[in-house]
Subunit: 123 residues, 6 copies
């Protein structure tokens, strides 16, 4: 079935970016269905822009918009896509000037947590 | 003098990105002084993140924040840094899902203008 | 006294929407005075737009602006005004496309908490 | 073909909301493809939230986010969906308190233009 | 009548800030009624914060939120309240770091227009 | 060395505003270097706008942008610069109308915490 293929492709992209995830709660099923089929299945898999660049601009925009819960997830994805810790921290210095200092301070705080967790997981 | 070196480095980076610019009006002198010395002289020239990636995330964030006048300038810079038209338009499709459809529609409108102008200049 | 009537009308509207609330702390007295008299007493009671529709657009805008503490309160109000859980969750899917995916994810998280609390209170 | 059905359904929804539209320019083809198939074809046609309510919250959110070009289009759609001029203007008074006075002033300015155009078209 | 006193006080405050204004169009009557009575009549006239400081923070916030049409009006008010051109331009340099460079560039552009108009009016 | 002077001046300004601070963690070194040298060393020390007014507009803008972690720090700074509790609370009532009620409610909540902490520290 067409839609199952889209969701399957979406799950694969999510796993490639973030690793395996638990199934959504009942409340989240509605939104997560569209997220898997459309956002990860249709959009993230499109040609025209490298997945590494999609990951980079997603982190940049989540920082600028102050969406820290989502930044936490996508920053792990960025590390998985080969973006370095130095590039992430330097991005925060750069963005301080475009979306304001507080967005960069909050983004660096997220980085500190994500890096610590990655160190712990590998320890 | 230290500050003149910073401003000189900033002017060179601005020219590399956008080409030559007219001197600022008297009202803009105060802000443009800091822009040249600090933003372009100190920040854009830092190691740790490629200029191409700085250009890409700057365009992404200006799109997400709806800063279209600045996006127009930085999108020209992105083309000068080797980012393709396809990458720019695909970035808009991607960002529609993170900062909302209207930001992507407005960003695509800016792209249409910038591409037309680039075609005209090369015609 | 005219102002007491405005505050009284405001308190009635707040109770209708959210149920009884504790009196504000001393720090909040200044803002809550204007909130009761003007926002709930004068504005929410105006004709021209149904209270149910005021509740719906307030939830939509709080979701889009990422004001989750206030969304929590107004989502309870929306349920009290007869807006269904399905309508709230579907609103999140819809708004993902206008204010960005992260606002919808955070809004759905608020819904999950509000629904659980409502289930607990009725259990 | 599955995707053509989605785009067809999307075009029908767009026409129902806004009337016939010219085909997109080449630059807009990429984004408009996703807009027709997914946003209007898949999302606006979902059950769970009335089209009239989707229209109302879309106008509210576009007002709050200051997306005036898109608000202009969706406000015409709101009038076509049976939302009255009084409801639109009263929504602006209400939203002044949630997304700030300037968003309501700008939204009322858009309303003034849309109403005038509607009067002219019907005159 | 109580409400007429509030509107009268509001009109006086508006004139003190901005000079005489034309009556609102029919579309704006609804919002402008609340603006005069409540925003200028009740809020701007409250004790606890000097009118000069209200004017200063209003300009700062309108700059940060990118509400340029309203900034234009309130910047004239700031000059009328004794805030200097130097203070306004320096505020833009300061805010570049808190709400992002583009907000400061756009705010300086508004200043350039307002200063030119003030020079023309006094010439 | 020129840069050390800038950082030294920045540290002095930070201490004047907020009191002594612990050294940054390794993750924050990159951003805090620019913060001390440029933001506090170069910008906050510029003539043209009083430090008290810089503090006032910084608090206003952080309230409007919903940057509550940073508002907490700068509100302490505002009290240290002689801005009164009444002025801060009245600013929240004022800003409710420009950046929306939720920003003012959240800002008043920060004020409540900051005032309690200040009372505790002096008790």
């Amino acid at each position: 079935m067409a839609d199952n293929e889209r969701a399957k492709r979406g799950n694969e992209m999510r796993e490639r970016l973030f690793g395996a995830a638990p199934p959504p709660s009942e409340t989240f099923e509605r939104l997560m269905g569209v997220t898997n089929e459309h956002l990860f299945g249709d959009i993230w898999t499109r040609p025209g822009l490298a997945v590494r660049d999609r990951s980079l601009i997603t982190c940049a925009v989540l920082t600028a918009l102050g969406k820290e819960a989502q930044l936490r997830v996508h920053m792990k994805g960025a590390l998985n896509m080969g973006i370095s810790r130095e590039e992430i921290l330097e991005m925060m210095v750069h963005l301080a000037h475009y979306s304001g200092w507080p967005t960069a301070v909050n983004g660096t705080r997220v980085a500190e947590e994500v890096f610590k967790e990655a160190d712990g997981a590998g320890g």
